[in-house]
Every structure is written in C-alpha cells, then in structure tokens.
C-alpha cells in the first residue's frame, strides 16, 4: 500500500509519452513513427512506443560518442586497449544521449532514458562475460579435444612433455562418476527422507532441523573437506580415498538437496493429499502413492541440481582424496582424482600441452554440468505448481467461455474454439 501511495505524487508530475501505455490514450503531440496513408478511415492508434526521434537520437549519440572517444583516445590522452576504449565510449554515449533527450523531454524522461542505457549496458556486460568464459574455455580446449585418446587413456604413462596424442583423463572421468555415485547413494535417500520429514511431520523439531539445514548451505566447501579430513582420515584412519571425497561431497550436497526437495514437496496441492486421506489411506501410502509421484519431476530436478553442484567441487576432493595420474577403480583405498581436481593439477604445470589438457578437462566437465542442467530443465519443466496453475487457467477459461456464450447466444456457435489456448 505504501508503495502505491508514494508512487502517485512522484509520478503525477512527470507525465511523459515514453514507455507508458498511458501515452497511447492521449492524442500524441510528438512525431509518429508511422503515418497512416488512408486518411478517410478512422485513425488507428499506434501501439508501439518507439518514435523516429528516439531512433535518431540513439544513432546520433552513438556516432558522436564513437567519434569523440576516437578523438580523445588518439589525440588527448593515451587510452590503452579495447576495454578502456569501450568504457569511454559508453560513458560519452550516455552523456551525449542524455543531452539530446533533454532538448525535447523533461527531467523524469531523461532520467528514464539514462537508466535504460545503464541497465542495458550492465546486463550485456554480464551476459557477454559469462558467455565469454565458456567460449574461452572451449576455445582453449580445442587442441586437446579432437584426440580420442584424451577420453580413453589415463595419465599414468604420459609425462608433462608428451604430446596430446598420449594420455588422457579417463581416470578423472571414472573418478568423478564413482565419487558422485557414492555421494548420490548417500544423499538421495537421506535428503528426500529428511525433506519428507520436514513437510509431513511439522513441529518445533522439524523447524529446528530446517534452520540447521539452511545454515549448512553456508558451509564453505573447504571446511567440509577439512571436516572429513580430520574425522574420517585423521581420527578414524580411513585412507585418503575416493570414499572420503564422496563423503565430503555428500556433506556439501545434502543441504542443497534437502532445501530444494522441501520446496518441491510443499508445492504438492493439499487437495490431492486430502482426497487420499478421505479415501482412508494411511499417511505412508499417501506419501508413497500421491506426494512423491506428484512431485517426481521436481525431486529429479533437485537431485540433478545438487549433482551439478557436487560434481564441480574441487577443494573437498583436494583435501580428502589427493591427486593421482593413474586409474583407480577402488574407492576405499588410494587417491582417486576427479575432473575439477584434474583441471587444477594440469594447469599448475607450465607446459602448454598440460595446460591444453587442463582446458580440455574443463570443457568436458562443463559439458557434463550443462548436460545435467538441460536434463533437469526438461524434467522440471512440468512441476505440480505449474500443472495446478494450468488447470486453474483452464477452468477459468471454460467458465468465462460459458458465461460469454450465455450472454451472446447468437454468436456462440461461430466463435467457440475447440480447445482452450495455452
């Protein structure tokens, strides 16, 4: 309520014709983008909020900024590098654009345009940088990836000076799969059972567990590794091994999985559960036959997202498993390397081939994470909340249709569509 109250005085004085639907209801005073050729037909309202002057102002400010930046960079002060030049151009562009707009518009409109420029700049900086990080990794990985042996051999017999057609990361791929497999075997049952506990048996104890789990999402991964190192390895004498790494990864994954499963389980519509209880089902059979199947896709998403997080953890594996160049299929003894740890070790070497191997491993790891993510998206696209929302829309649509058809009897047959739109 407070926000809408403050909105009124702030904006009532700043009526402009930019970016607001209100502009379309009043007769426009500025130039239009499109002049209707047929003057006899009733004037059709232009729904676009773009005008010729806007486009011209943008282009003009862009050209002026480029030219001015070029003059400054070449004649006045030495500006080194493309990034600096880009930043200078954007700053100049914003200033010139604001100046142009202020010729015809009032204060709030100018501020609106400047903020639009800033928001676009920030967003494109972020998106381009993020895409660039991925592209950069893949580009640097290109020397290593075409060699098929990169995926089938380990590094036991390949030294740092060997060319890329000997040695590979099969041991790291296998290590990652074994470690994440063990971690999932621990976290899936424990995580989902705990999430069911949090939603099915609410109470002070469940609230306390939820608080602790939320706190544990803040656990730094290195501390999880240190914990396992100090307990399992240092105190209980477990070997530095894949199992220890899997335990450390489990501690990282468990809070994430519990939290997201908890959210998904809470989305299950109460009507479904109540229908089940109404039929005399026990709580157990309601959970097993109604709650879990309804939220299956959401739970799968939770599992896959936690997996993607766990698979990329480096520091717990560094502490608890250690590095090896050879294939190790036994998780209970001896070091077992994972993909992120292999990257970390490869790029420590000054040799270009080793660095290329590191980037190749990074590309493989990213491919794995992206693959998991895409699967999660495909499965998670259809969660119960969306399903319920769709059914609600469907129902409203049908009832609106019935009301409408009753009101306009004569046109019903002509306009009624067969299926509701999505």
């Amino acid at each position: 309520m407070t926000t809408s109250a403050t909105a009124a005085p702030a904006t009532a004085s700043s009526v402009t014709h930019t970016g607001s639907p209100a502009a379309n209801t009043t007769p426009p005073t500025q130039t239009r983008l499109r002049v209707l050729p047929d003057s006899e037909s009733p004037r059709e309202r232009v729904l676009s909020d773009k005008r010729v002057s806007d486009v011209l102002a943008l282009c003009g400010a862009g050209l002026a900024a480029l030219a001015l930046a070029a003059v400054i960079a070449t004649q006045l002060v030495p500006v080194r590098g493309i990034p600096a030049f880009t930043v200078l151009t954007i700053v100049l562009f914003t200033m010139i654009y604001a100046a142009i707009i202020s010729l015809t518009e009032n204060g709030p409109a100018v501020r609106d345009r400047v903020v639009t420029v800033i928001v676009h700049t920030l967003a494109f900086t972020v998106l381009l940088t993020l895409v660039f990080v991925v592209v950069f990794t893949v580009a640097r990985a290109l020397p290593a990836l075409p060699h098929l042996n990169f995926f089938t051999e380990d590094m036991a017999l390949a030294g740092p000076l060997d060319p890329l057609d000997t040695g590979g990361i099969a041991h790291a791929i296998v290590g990652t799969l074994i470690q994440i497999g063990i971690a999932l075997a621990i976290t899936i049952p424990l995580g989902i059972a705990t999430a069911v506990f949090l939603t099915e048996i609410p109470g002070p104890f469940a609230r306390f567990v939820r608080t602790v789990v939320e706190a544990m999402t803040a656990l730094p991964s290195i501390v999880a590794g240190l914990f396992i190192y100090a307990t399992a390895i240092y105190t209980f004498g477990l070997d530095k091994s894949g199992l220890a790494a899997a335990l450390a990864i489990s501690i990282m994954m468990l809070p994430i999985m519990i939290r997201s499963s908890d959210v998904v389980l809470r989305l299950v519509p109460h009507t479904l559960k109540e229908a089940s209880y109404g039929l005399g089902a026990t709580q157990w059979s309601t959970v097993w036959k109604v709650t879990l199947p309804t939220s299956r896709s959401g739970l799968t998403t939770a599992i896959i997202l936690a997996t993607a997080r766990g698979i990329g953890e480096t520091s717990p594996v560094l502490l608890t498993s250690g590095f090896t160049a050879a294939m190790n299929l036994n998780p209970t003894s001896g070091p077992m390397v994972s993909l992120p740890l292999a990257i970390f070790q490869f790029v420590k070497s000054p040799e270009p081939t080793m660095i290329a191997r590191g980037f190749g491993t990074a590309a493989t790891l990213m491919l794995l994470v992206v693959g998991l993510f895409v699967i999660a998206r495909l499965i998670g696209a259809d969660n119960p909340a969306k399903k319920a929302a769709r059914m609600e829309r469907h129902r409203r649509f049908r009832s609106a249709l019935i009301t409408a058809s009753r009101a306009t009897l004569q046109t019903t047959r002509r306009t009624r569509p067969d299926a509701p739109q999505e």
Binding site: A7, T11, A22, A84, V115, V119, A215, A218, F227, P340
Partner: protein, 326 residues
Amino acid sequence: MDDVISPRRLMTKRETADRVFRGGVRASGTVVLLIMSFVGIFLLLRAWEALQVSGFSFFTTQAWEPDSGNFGIAAVIVGTVLIALVAVSIALPLSLGTALYISDYAPIRLRKTLITLVDLMAAVPSVVFGLWGVFFLQEKIVPVAQWLSTVLGWIPLFRVDGVDPRDPLASATVYTSSTFIAGIVVAMMITPIMTSIMREVFMQAPLGEREGALALGSTRFGMIRSVVLPYGAGGIVGGTMLGLGRALGETIAVYMIISPVFVIQPHVLANGTNSVSALIALRYGEATQMGMSALMAAGLALFLLTLVVNFAASSIVARSRSGAST
C-alpha cells in the same frame, strides 16, 4: 467427580506402516541434524587445542607458524573479507542491472532463454572461472589496475607501494595476483546466483501496482523506482548477502590467482593477498597435529563468518514484503 461429563478424548491411532514411516523419516531428519551439528561441534573440539595455545592473539596475529605457537587469522581474515567486498561491490551493480533487464526491459520472448542462461551460469564450476581468471583476466586487467592506482592512488585502499605512477616502463608484476583480480573472478562467479535471486523477487512485484504507476503517467524508471525496487528491497539485500557468503567461502579460484602473503594487505591493487580457504588448501598437507588444529580454528572462524552473513540474509529476506515466498 466421576459423573462430570468430560469431552470425548480425541486420539489418532496410527497403523504399523505409518508408525514405521514416521519413525523412519524422523530418524533421517535426526541423522541429518546430527551430521550437520557434528561438523560445527567437531570443528570447535579440534580447534580448541590451538585456540588455547594462542588465546586472544589468534585474532590479532598475522603470521602463520602454528608449531612455534605464533599464529593468527588477522592477515587471512582481512584478505578474505577484502576479496569478498571487492567481489560484492562489482557484482552488486552488475547483477542488479541484469535482474532489472530480465524482469523489466528484455523482450518477453527472450526472457525465458535469459533466465535459463543465468541459472546455467550459476552451475558452472568455480574452477572454470579460476582458469579464466588465471589465463585471460590476469594480463588484461593489469592496465586497468595501473590506471586505477595512478588516478585513485591518493586513497590508501588503491595505493600500490613501490611504483612510481609517472614511470611508464614500471614493471607490471606488482599489479598481478592481487585482491582486485581475485575479487573480479569471484564477482563473476557470484553474479549469476545474485541475479537469479533478485530477478525472482522483481518479477513477483504486483502487476496491479506496476500498472497503477504506469497509468499515472510514470516512466518505466519511475515505475521501477516506486514499485519494483521497494518491493524487491529484501531480495536485493538477501541476494547480496548470499553472494557475500559464497564469496567468503570460495577456495579454488582464489587459490589459483593470489600469491599468498601473511601480512595484512590493505592495498587491493597490489600483488599478494590471502584468504582463509586458500590458507587451508595451502597448508593442510604439511600440517602437524598442532597445525591441523590451527587450520581447524581458521576454518571455524570462516564458517562462523559465513553463518552470520547467511542468517542475516535470510532474516532480512523473511522480514521483507516479498520474503514469504523465497
């Protein structure tokens, strides 16, 4: 007394399957609780030995020589906080702009793709960002650092000792491996998660209020300032704190970039810094029992720091208007 009619006692009599089920899930909840509290308790127990040796000087000593009893987290914790602050101060405007772009400026058709892209970026392993920082950013950022230290060198934070800003041939190595570079890499890492949280909150801003502001003649920015930002304030603060928590705990990307020093390094652009997690990754292998205990104490301090930040974040988000759903 017996003839007083008391209400029928209501009680649920559960079947065996239900009792087993409830016992089972309650047990798993207890197990999770035990594991999670065991982490904290065990850290404290193991750290106790070191904390007793060092006493209060644990928080004031800069050196890290646990075997001679001369150790403390003053240098590493300052480094950790500085890296995280640099990261957050870069990531905050970036993620705020990106979140607003997705929620209010982007074409509707693009919106879903952008959301997926940002969420996907949040899942990219940190070691990949570390690679980017070491092999790309490190050399490209040196001119920027040089320029910053020349222009803003009068602020102590940006001063770099041992260089003459007027000397164009000065060595660039004084600017590498700095808090600034580590901060940028961590910023790129936490930007997606911060964007994701802010975007979610911004998109929940009530449509009626948005349209009300527009109908009163507000510009798009006027609408954002008077409706979206006040509504999403909790999300902005909460998302930032969450990013801060993640930045504090980041290990491997920081470890790859910095060159560790054990003095308080307040100059963010200068070579050499340190962080708690990098310290642990650096020293765990050669640690004696005392060294291990000291590392545990450092880890505990880091954990408590992230815990406080996280709790502050969740309480701010929960108290805000948009908080109930996030």
